[in-house]
Symmetry: C2
Subunit: 538 residues, 2 copies
Amino acid sequence: MVAKYDDGLDKCGANHAPLSPVSLVRRAAQAYAEQPAIIFEGSTRSWGEVYDRCLRMAAGLRAKGVGKDSTVAVLCRNLPAAVELSYAVPMSRGVLNMINTRLGADDVAYILDHAEAEIFFVDTGLADVARQALALAKVRPQIILIDGGDGEDASGLAGLAYEEVIKAAEPLDAWDTMPDDEWDAVALNYTSGTTARPKGVVYSHRGLYLTSIGTALEWSMPAQPRYLWTLPLFHCNGWCFPWAIAAKGGVNICLRAPVAADILHALQSEGATHMCGAPIVLNMVATLAQERGVTFSPRVQFMAGGAAPPAAVLARADAVGIDVTHVYGLTEVYGPMTVCAWRQEWDKLPAEERAHLRARQGVNYVIEEELSVRDPATMAEVPPDGKTMGEIMFRGNAVMKGYLKNPDATGSAFAGGHFRSGDLGVRHPDGQIELKDRSKDIIISGGENISSIEVEGVIYKHPAVSEAAVVAGPHEKWGETPVAFVELKQGFALTADELIAFCRERLAHYKCPTRVLFEALPKTSTGKIQKTELRKRL
Amino acid sequence: MVAKYDDGLDKCGANHAPLSPVSLVRRAAQAYAEQPAIIFEGSTRSWGEVYDRCLRMAAGLRAKGVGKDSTVAVLCRNLPAAVELSYAVPMSRGVLNMINTRLGADDVAYILDHAEAEIFFVDTGLADVARQALALAKVRPQIILIDGGDGEDASGLAGLAYEEVIKAAEPLDAWDTMPDDEWDAVALNYTSGTTARPKGVVYSHRGLYLTSIGTALEWSMPAQPRYLWTLPLFHCNGWCFPWAIAAKGGVNICLRAPVAADILHALQSEGATHMCGAPIVLNMVATLAQERGVTFSPRVQFMAGGAAPPAAVLARADAVGIDVTHVYGLTEVYGPMTVCAWRQEWDKLPAEERAHLRARQGVNYVIEEELSVRDPATMAEVPPDGKTMGEIMFRGNAVMKGYLKNPDATGSAFAGGHFRSGDLGVRHPDGQIELKDRSKDIIISGGENISSIEVEGVIYKHPAVSEAAVVAGPHEKWGETPVAFVELKQGFALTADELIAFCRERLAHYKCPTRVLFEALPKTSTGKIQKTELRKRL
């Protein structure tokens, strides 16, 4: 006998649909047909127009053989086409592979080959690296050229024009754009791969859908937000914001490059309300605003990921009218998946304390099942004492399907039933977690663990310091010792001894840097300081 | 050969979890352990406390044999226990059946029998009806008494005490509370059944989870909202707000009864920020606030469902500092599932026009797959001309699993692959829909269809009118004719002829009421005017 709650209560077309970001775009096109979807350099496309263009592009891709197992690679700056392809490629049932635009030709070639790219969209502004990559790659993807509008020479790249593909196709039927199964792959994002070849992280329609609405929910986004694209779209699919913006009927304000003057201009002339990026982007915008005497009203919302924003940067942002939401995550969990959950009562605390609380990584997003800090050997959770370190782990629907063609790495990452982030942290008594370091960034000096983040936090407090990074240097007696790399603000002077003395007033002495090097800091394409590069200099 | 995007990329414990409202409560308890979860008559329980109590109650229910196929019936006002049981019953894997507290004993007995209730929670304030219902019912559920605190006589109801069940149990392990499958039933809600016996609408964990976060998303709820329980928790599980509030770390402010003075008091003394209900509740609160010279600052957010709020009510709400979001839905789609999506440019329109736009039912929630207006015979969509009527239909993850033990009714409701609402409406050129009437409320006079809603909208504009309802009365010549039932505001006078003349100035004459009856309007438990009752009076 079938139990009463199973009998005649099956899934059918009326009561079940696969979760897919494709739905969010279709709904935006119906609910906000005449409202702006994409703004770029003064021209605007409505949701109705963008959806029609995407249905045509998806049809064009299908006609070229794109389907469930096809990789569609995209090398493009944050131009309107990058947003449109975020929508159109999932609609074609292909897998969207946004490639980091700052990679060298060798890495791009590796990715094209590893992903077995069938289609390769190339922004003509990046024609050089694309040409070189194709010369190195074994695969021969069909090329579609996106006119970057800056007169770049695309000769030698035999491809169709993006606009021609759109023009040539009849739009797909809106209901023919859904995946067969919500577990189907929708996107492929390569990790930055500091030590080895990058790994291909595979996202599902289900995970991307939940992350997109979960992000909008977590940030309490209002209807019709005006989102400024400072965050690269190749970074975890722009942290899933193309679809979060669709879900809220907002507008994507595109930028050719995330340079301070252009960002400030877009904030002022386009009335952007929301933006994301690493703390360095926040610092850059806040500093320029301060220099020019600009204060944002209404206040701008900034979601900061990639590193904890230093107190001084938070104070500067606050002064010019930017509210900061601090998030943390990794490519493997669809981008940020924890948020420093602010408590109303913290508003009353002194600025210093507020900044410290704001720098914590917080709690899991609502849509992620579990965030935990565990002993990586026993998998036991650490006590919530704010002191005992463990590895930060995630599980739930916003964890990748796995690494493409790399079952060993997938198996290691999921060993014990959780995704192991490789990051070390503590859980505070109030339930929020705090990142202490990447496991590889911990400095072990005389048997004591030193968190490079803690030392950097102190160095950032010095008024002359613009940016800083602390890494482990070799030390005859202690094994390792903290070494600080520092960039100063323009017009400031500081000696190594002065900075060390400043640290010794504020930190246990064994934690203080023993060497300070005033040098330009190398950065990744996403604005993270490359500690691997710094270590090579020692 | 397995395709590359399927190979070694399977679901596992790390990257997949069933969607369930249970997760939202667990996460609230971790992220907001010390923050208030429930406030009632001056006493507060934190999320940590509430979660512990629910883990214990769920364990107690398991010990009594509750599992995947068990119905747990609850007859309780909006007391803290009703919120806790919304959390605890799904954690026990039982199916939560909140029973309308205004039903008669005969209907309650029918529901207990039809649902095969194994456990029956009874608010002692409702002991009388429970006792009578149990005398009529065939089933013999285990009774658990909730002390309503108002000294009601619960003798003859042999049951355990709610608090004793909690005290006696060891809490379940948090990870033992999840359903095996997200399609499992989680709740059972009986329709009001105006013509026949009520039907049991079955919700899934997946649908309830998506609706809960979808509701918070649609309303752009900020973190830590203070939600006032004016909407009955038995009405589509309080439209899924117990879990929406958990998702945002907010607080449930409970009310013994939704009377105007208590609501106003809670808004002022507890700083409630959000509330829901029928337009009549909105009207009641706004009128009292106006009488007492109260203006809410910051403004209160009111989600109005059940009927379109009349322009005069909207104007009154606006004047006292209440923002209204108009939503529409049915029990079968988890409560409201369309929202009048406001456009910033409408802010500039005259009040009258704004009220008219605000009264439209709008667009589907982001989490619902499709809202359409179709010819019920051919299933063809009506043109978006704002004129052609069709039946409003839904499909997607926020459509019920079906009707319990009623495959015929489920089959009819889903015929053609969509849930057929039985409501008639149009789609406007901007994509938003507007409800014209329940199919059974349309008045057919001389072959012309008259929307009772349209006539009511005009009557509501008369300054002397408090409430009104228009139904079809028999007419020798025309077959049917509009008859208006009207309640006047205190201190106002109006004759039938005056009101008819008022209508004839504003409506085609064939649409105007030919009879006006000044009588008290009968209401359902959820505040809807009972047109069935009015028709009986003719």
